[in-house]
Amino acid sequence: MPRRRPLYLAGLLAVSLSVLLSSGCGVIARAVVNGYESVSAGALTNPGRIGPLTDTEQIWAKAAWRYVVNNTQPATGLVNSVDRYPATTLWQIGDYLGALVAARELGLIDRIEFDHRLAKLLGFVSRMPLLDGDVPNKVYNTQSGVMVNYSNQPGAVGASAIDVGRLLVWLKITGQRYPEYAEYLDKVVLRLNVCGLVGVDGMLYGSRADGGHFAHYREGRLGNEQYASAGFNMWGVPVAGAAASPVQTVYVDGVSVYVDARDPRTSGAPNPVLSEPYLLLGMEFGWHDRALGNPPQPAGVPGVREQAQAVYLAQAARWRNEKVITARTDHQLGQPPYFLYDSIFANGYAWNTLGEDGKSYPALALVSTRAAFGMWVLWHTTYTSDLMRAIEALYDPERGWYEGRYEASGAYEETATLSTNAMVLESLLYKTHGRLAASEQRAGYFDARLSDRFAPAGRCLPANGAPSSESPQ
């Protein structure tokens, strides 16, 4: 149920310019051939490959949904983050909501199954145990529903504002697309005390268990921080987030790429430039600063669209210059170190494949399935066509899509994850419907609840239900 946005002349000009820039004339020609169907899917207002799914793409979508079906836990309604591994994060609960909405709109499930699944998930989220301050733990066991540590043993490890940010995005989008559930989705946000993740400085804070208490730290770097901030902003929680992040420019294969300037040598936190947050920002928000709730950028500071464009151009340039097929983002793998920031740039180096230990693992770089899907759908170019040919076979119809293909050898990384399969579904949903989040908001339970001055909902929430407005008192 996509909403049509009014076409303003200026907006049309800007968008068609960007379509021309990012896609070349080919997309225009194809758009004419596909005619009405593409236009009705949003080709005029959305960049990239817009149109109905082909038969092959239908098979791709079914394979991705198969992952979800295989990994749904009946007890909690949650979906495993990695194939047959019963744990999940709040980010991945957001992934699941996205996959669920896509499956419904792509016709993979009917309204009844959608309702069953969503109800189960809402039931879990309304009951799930929370940390002190009513913020969610980073990890939950998908079978028992208890808080667990990174080894999936019962325990509390702290909260992640970034992960919650992704969930907030999909709680909002799901409510926009299915208003009949909006009330219950709103109640999730009121229960989770998102204010506990926002500092007095309006920045996102995570926490980690440190002895008997939780230590708080500024969480997120350019990219993920902007994405998560958008989630908070959608609910009227003003998060300065990435707008306050220092940005520096580096050259990667001759392209100016924008990097978080906070110093990984002193902060201990890496500053990787990854595709995924920019792809999500594109598919869900169309890279519109207004839709993201960002304040107007100061002159000279690259906007999110510019940053995303740089991330794409750098990867295409690597293919052109070095003849290495490139689609980089953080990924899992089935061997140590199990998780890598497979980046465009990180900690001083282009194409750094960075472990959480700060070491480089260049032999473990992947052509990431989910980065490839996102780039393929958002940039209609010969490069993304080549890219898709490189990964279009990376699925098992009985298991879902694999994480990616090793740059070093072409071998598969056969780990299957929820994030990758959800991204496949989200990309295909974007292809058929264009931008996923609506820019107008309809007042609902959340707003009614916030306008009750005698039962304040949370110190960081907007007082009158007016997003981003200052409280008069």
Binding site: L21, G26, T249, V250, A316
Partner: protein
């Protein structure tokens, strides 16, 4: 940096539309608009004023204190009887400057040079090949890093700097040329330079096996290669700027060596020193440019001059943007870790300060005295006036100049070194005389010049050592067996055109990159 991107984005968009509307999107490197401000800063030139003369005498005091009369060597660090060929070259720079500035008389100069050359002509070389990395300055024995008798290999860059100073002395004081040539004729270059002109150093592995490894990164490598070139070697691979990449630092695209320090054992540090020394001694000219070598001025259109300008401008811009006075170089520190690479850029980060092992030690970031004085000499600007004010007074009478002044406000680095005080003297001499290497055109002999013992030996077809020791291939002028251009030294050097290197061309054009994408 961030304030620069919007304009370039708009321009990029329009250029992309204009040039390439139907093709794939691609980045367009914009041409730079105009030059960097530092392009208009001339070198300082003129007689020394009272304060500068005082500085020269103070710096020379270091060499008086640390002179070892038995060997003619000078301690590299105050009071510690050890030195390297790099530091010996810095001493020679200090000595020549002291002579030219009238601090040392002819007799004192000749005695010091003769004693040192006697030692160089009798000391043991590493495996009989090249000078060892370190020598004891009292005994002239080869030593290890602990100054104990032993050997540890040789350094291509140390040797390269020494070759530059031996050439400067031979051209300025031909009376010492024979002893210098005798010293070089002792060397065996076969492991130090290959057919493509790549420079190698030697290290000892854990099992005492010798490993010969490519040595040098952009800046130092090209500076060291100039020393080899001056003696007739082709240094094609070492003298090209490639492989390099750019990093934008305060709106200046700063070049750095793109060989990956994570995979290779060498850091790719960008510091002032290599570019300052190349400017003072060679005027940023190609070493083989004999016309440039007869004039006191510096070159402006070589890639080395262009890169040096960027390294200077990035430091001035850092001061303008942050208020931190900046003159970065490698330098000693007082106590562990004793030595840091205090850089404009290295190992992925701008303004990185690291130890030899790569540990990040920002507390040792400093205004390097030698870098500050070198920049003061080569760029006459309000900024270098300010830099000079910061370091004029950083000395101990009777000891010499401190190594530097810490950026964190914790005062001077109270270490005295031959390298620091030698480069200070070089810079002051540069102010008076301009480019330090001046080819001697005085002798009215063939080709305006009397061939030296070195050149006579190299052109002797019956000297079997020429090939065995991998000396530069030269033939007497007029012979035709080799398609050689006109050699620089009165003989034809054919090592370029006869070289067996298929992968490098000395004269391949190099297109200078834009100064920045943000104007």
């Amino acid at each position: 940096m961030t304030s620069c991107s919007r304009v370039s984005w708009i321009a990029l968009l329009w250029l992309a539309l204009l040039l390439n509307a139907c093709a794939q999107t691609r980045d367009v490197v914009l041409p730079s608009r105009g030059d960097l401000p530092s392009a208009s800063y001339p070198p300082r030139n003129g007689a020394l004023d009272a304060r500068e003369s005082q500085m020269a005498r103070t710096a020379w005091q270091y060499f008086e204190n640390n002179y070892q009369p038995a060997t003619g060597m000078v301690n590299a660090v105050d009071g510690y009887p050890s030195t390297t060929m790099w530091d010996t070259a810095s001493y020679l720079g200090g000595l020549v400057a002291a002579r030219e500035l009238g601090i040392v008389d002819k007799r004192g100069f000749d005695e010091r040079i003769s004693t040192l050359l006697k030692t160089l002509n009798s000391m043991e070389l590493f495996r009989g090949q090249m000078p060892n990395k370190a020598y004891n300055t009292v005994t002239a024995q080869k030593v290890n890093y602990a100054n104990q008798p032993g050997e540890i290999g040789f350094s291509a860059l140390d040797v390269g700097r020494l070759l530059i100073w031996l050439k400067i002395i031979e051209e300025r004081y031909p009376e010492h040329g024979n002893a210098i040539d005798r010293f070089l004729l002792r060397w065996d270059f076969s492991r130090a330079i290959d057919a493509c002109g790549m420079l190698y150093g030697a290290t000892l592995g854990p099992d005492k096996q010798v490993q010969y490894v490519q040595e040098g990164r952009l800046g130092y490598q090209d500076y060291g290669a100039s020393g080899y070139q001056l003696w007739g070697f082709s240094t094609c691979m070492a003298s090209r700027p490639e492989p390099y990449a750019l990093v934008p630092i305060y709106c200046v695209d700063v070049p750095y060596d793109s060989r990956d320090p994570r995979e290779l054992s060498q850091h790719n540090y960008v510091v002032s020193e290599s570019y300052v020394l190349d400017g003072l001694e060679l005027g940023w000219a190609r070493a083989t440019d004999r016309a440039a070598g007869t004039r006191p001025v510096v070159q402006r259109d070589t890639w080395m001059a262009n890169f040096a300008r960027r390294i200077y401008q990035a430091q001035e811009n850092r001061f303008l943007a942050t208020g931190i006075l900046t003159a970065r170089s490698e330098h000693q520190v007082d106590g562990d870790p004793y030595f840091v690479y205090d850089t404009v850029y290295t190992d992925g980060f701008a303004w990185n300060t690291i130890t030899e092992k790569g540990a990040y030690v920002p507390q040792y970031a400093a205004i390097s005295t030698k870098a500050a004085v070198g920049m003061w000499a080569l760029w006459n600007s309000a900024y270098t006036d300010r830099l000079a004010e910061a370091i004029w007074g950083q000395y101990v009478p009777g000891k010499g100049y401190y190594e530097g002044v810490l950026e964190n406000g914790k005062g001077p680095i109270k270490v005295f070194t031959a390298n620091n005080n030698g480069i200070i003297l070089e810079a002051l001499m540069f102010k008076v005389e301009g480019r330090l290497l001046r080819f001697n055109e005085a002798a009215p002999q063939m080709g305006n010049r009397q061939p030296s013992l070195w050149e006579r030996t190299l052109t002797n077809p019956f000297d079997a050592d020429n090939a065995a020791r991998n000396r530069p291939r030269m033939i007497a002028r007029g012979a035709s067996s080799c398609r050689a251009g006109t050699g620089a030294f009165g003989v034809a050097s054919c090592s370029l055109s006869c070289s067996d290197c298929p992968t490098c061309q000395d004269d391949a054009p190099f297109i200078l990159p834009a100064y920045s994408q943000c104007h």
